[in-house]
Symmetry: C2
Subunit: 487 residues, 2 copies
Amino acid sequence: MRITASPQLLAILPIVRRSGAPLHRQIYDGLRRAILDGLLRPGQRVPATRVLAVELEVSRLPVLSAYEQLLHEGYLQGRVGSGTFVSEALPEDSLRAVAGGHERPPVAGHRVRSRVPPAREDGGLRPFRVSLPALDQFPHDTWSGIVARHARRFDRAHMAYGDPAGLGVLRAAIAEHLRTARAVRCEAEQVLVVSGSQAALRLCAAVLLGQGHRIAVEEPGYPGAHAALGTTGAELIPVPVGADGIDLMALDALGSRVRAAYVTPSHQYPLGASLSAPRRLALLDWARRRDAWLLEDDYDSEYRYVSRPLGALQGMDAHGRVVYIGTFSKVLFPALRIGYLVVPPTSWGAFAAAREAFDLFSPTLYQLALAEFLGEGHFARHLRRMRGVYLHRREALLDGLAEHCADALGVHNADAGLHVATMLPDGVDDVDVVRRLAAHRLTASALSTCYLGRERRSGLLLGFGGFTESQLAQATRTLGQVLRAVP
Amino acid sequence: MRITASPQLLAILPIVRRSGAPLHRQIYDGLRRAILDGLLRPGQRVPATRVLAVELEVSRLPVLSAYEQLLHEGYLQGRVGSGTFVSEALPEDSLRAVAGGHERPPVAGHRVRSRVPPAREDGGLRPFRVSLPALDQFPHDTWSGIVARHARRFDRAHMAYGDPAGLGVLRAAIAEHLRTARAVRCEAEQVLVVSGSQAALRLCAAVLLGQGHRIAVEEPGYPGAHAALGTTGAELIPVPVGADGIDLMALDALGSRVRAAYVTPSHQYPLGASLSAPRRLALLDWARRRDAWLLEDDYDSEYRYVSRPLGALQGMDAHGRVVYIGTFSKVLFPALRIGYLVVPPTSWGAFAAAREAFDLFSPTLYQLALAEFLGEGHFARHLRRMRGVYLHRREALLDGLAEHCADALGVHNADAGLHVATMLPDGVDDVDVVRRLAAHRLTASALSTCYLGRERRSGLLLGFGGFTESQLAQATRTLGQVLRAVP
């Protein structure tokens, strides 16, 4: 992008009237130095002489004189009808060389570039990226219409500082959705709006976990949660996950010095198990007996393909031990950056204060738009439609795996959510397979990276939510070829 | 807001085909229980029988039968042409009483409400709220036009997961602005987009400060920074601020066990001093000698009224010891939630990783809109216009203080930024004055709350940026009355 209007130059032209040098010389020196130092870059526009004179509170004459000299020497160039620009003819490197003897430190431009990894702006849209919803099926026109309308209506109160807990109208809409769709027992006043489940988990760490605390996490589990929950110095204790979710005997065997457990009861990440109702009650009983917290991450509970969904663990909790965490990243789109917590009333004050200290509040425009999207029923409609879409995409993935990969890959669980957990044969390095897939423009996740301990199963997590049936057919064919080529 | 489309009821109606009870009875029981438990609320719409039958994968007959019974018993009510709703006639409390003997835990609704503070949705728009820009002067049409256009154009790549460092086009625009307007030496690749300066400070704490580390902070200083910088266990050491900024002798006297100093050299918060160029060089020299970091918060450096602005400390740093922090909250509007850091290249990896673990990335739509707003020169134009606006508002505040409050309040510093620091006579409790002002719908900040140590000066921080000249004239009159009434 090109700067087409004049930049602010006040800080790089500190004119001192009392100094001996004439004004035009000071202006010439300041601009020349800024160009040589790289503060002004080739092709960048400089202010019109009239604008700069006003800004510097000097007459236009010295500015004109300085510009003329810089144009004459080739530092600036004029383009008829479009203003004055730093010359593009002089290559940057010769500029730097000229600036060599300068008293200011050299600009580290070129060195910086090589150290910084390239930007990741493709949005990770390649199959089999996990956690990616069907962006092509999103009701784009409805959503953008709502956003555009709120952008135009945006008033002063909505531009200023917002409630750290979130907009009341959004909190009410989220509470209503959670009560009816997830059987969460909550009032709007318990809902805390944050920028996603990553922020929600960090908030839980900030409020509940400190140096010396121990938190049980599922093994294998969600690496993002591990990173977030460890930030305040707590020790993460892996607890094995079996075919029916977290091993409750192993959890209880940790004794009483466990402050909390992080669980994904609706759809265990990454293996996909769902915790049965009796086991949910047993987990709640554990929390009560051990005076521990349960952090329930209900991350893609909306989609179940083989049996009816169970309500949230939170809804069965009679003792206020559950902090419920959800996000709109996987049911709407990731770049929305809105997630939420449902906090037990007794802990509200601590969570609300920590949320404010975190990053004050979430952007107001998207909160307004999302509240309308939920309140007007677009969200419920979207969820209902997406169930059919994902059912077909899941089938396409499973069909493709059966056709192209059956000899090299076993499907472990495909009951729910937006990805399928698969197992690789013993001895096959899943991280190596993921690397090979990347060379074919495919993005899978290695199961082994979800373990904290040394004992790790090898497998691939294959997202299907974000890809059409034909993309998935093509991608499974490539996957089969890559797997067969593994030595 | 009323839910006008049918909600998802899957989780609260877990129909079990194998159970002995007939389907219509299970549906009746499930809905009645959900109403009694408060999962469905009076006035809330329930799905049309046809929709619910599809959702439950049953025929429509048992759903119709269950609805009829619930309508008959008064749990539901039908409105011609607008569907079926939970009855509003039954008061919530009698519902709760009926639900008394139920095996599910009671809903804590009413108790919750009383514990949770009321939402703060007025946006804090009253005089003399500090840090509030002139929202009424914001180029609303230009901005909302840009936002609406990007909302409509929003493509799949922009809906998916974004670069944790920020959109490349925004980072480039920020870098160009900082180089020319603030003499910051940076490449786009050093710019890290975050959700505001609060998040930026927390990020600095996460990367640079840990248990046992000591960080020097200005005394008095910015309470928000104190909260953020202490989150990872570092000890905050207050260093006195004089008429020309932080006391460098006192800083150096802390010895070598100081990991970092948090400074506001352009406009010290809250007292307003600007650090002179020689003192900036001395501060940089201290950081080099002590191998310490400087966290430069350049929070409202754009506005100076009495002398030319100095370039950023960062631009004078030859040893990569400065992390530069800025935000758009005070130059555009707070609800934008976009701030940034400029990170020395050698520390890029640690900062980028911590930023991703923080909350992944910032919402993409506003990043796109802001990049265009900067790139097309609207931002530079807005800053230029605002200088004049704030100059007049500041004058109105100072005139009002001279006319109405001269006997009770001394102006300490009004050189820069969006607020004026004032001093109260010894013995006057500024927190008490702030409380009295609140009763007159005025929002001032107490200077004494900016101190970490016991020795505190009493004063008021009076924001003028967000208020018209007539508002300020009126508010200063009220302020004078309140001050004269203090016993």
